[in-house]
Assembly symmetry: C2
Homo-oligomer: 160 residues x 2
Amino acid sequence: MFDLASYLPYLVNRVGVRLANAFGKELAAFGVTLPMWRVMAALRDRRSSSVGRLSEATSIEVSTLSRLLAAMDRRGLVRRQRASADARSVIVELSEAGKHLTQRIIPKALRYQEIALRDFDGADATALKAMLVRVHENIAALEEEAPEGVERARAGASGR
Amino acid sequence: MFDLASYLPYLVNRVGVRLANAFGKELAAFGVTLPMWRVMAALRDRRSSSVGRLSEATSIEVSTLSRLLAAMDRRGLVRRQRASADARSVIVELSEAGKHLTQRIIPKALRYQEIALRDFDGADATALKAMLVRVHENIAALEEEAPEGVERARAGASGR
DNA sequence: GCGAGATCGTTGCAAATGCAACTAATTACC
DNA sequence: GGTAATTAGTTGCATTTGCAACGATCTCGC
């Protein structure tokens, strides 16, 4: 039996799309898109990052992110510079303007989260988030197990 | 304070993207894309549907869905016919081939869900899903409240 | 220290997406 | 009953996306 209404990927996708669409509209007032906000939030969280790590942090594919960062650079939201240690990588960080805009958006983002969790008490909200983290880890583990290649015959003890 | 690691939209998006990417790759073996699978699962769930309702069920934007359905029709996965009652709407349903393929994919989908929930007991899994439904409803309520227009002064009793 | 292979990011190109405009059909109002 | 306003779905068009190919740099083995 397969019941869509209790199928996790369906439920997650549904919530994700709604959350994205609704908040995306609010973001328009700030002149940024949702992907841009994601980048800003991730950069605020880690001060600076290479493009690759930022891609993981935001779940935005590297080539898409590369172009997005170029656009954000043009708009003066971020700065990019090649790493001195490894000249292949590019270090990205928020500009001053980017930081200020991020701070202005944060209250909206938090208010938005409150609405999404309006009937949750603190314990439930925490439980929900913890479970989402666990699900994320479970899938991540799967991906590492099957590096998509052919090699890996014997189930190696490849604990993360 | 704003902590990305405990920000719900971030956590949901992360899980959603991973789930989508990973399962999308499995779907390639069946010759369908993830959006196609979503449509198939939704149609299996409701036997038949208009394009508009299917759009709500799948969280796929109507114009995107229209084109997707055309492609699926060409591939023989779905049938489309104008409704006799209301000749504006189009009734979509799975073809026999579409039904069979859906049945073949379902086991994979369920196995995939098991992996995502590998360390959850039944109660936790149920709780997680129930909370996702609640979050979804909370955001849906928000959207109805603010139909984006200017008109709506008096809070009309506009029960869905 | 040199060359093969891996890694990082960007870009070409085709496909997917979303909004707005459009056509067709229905409903509401007088 | 006829016309204006609404609704359903499709299509035009510009933007976004993702994969593959690429150039540049680094790492490893010798």
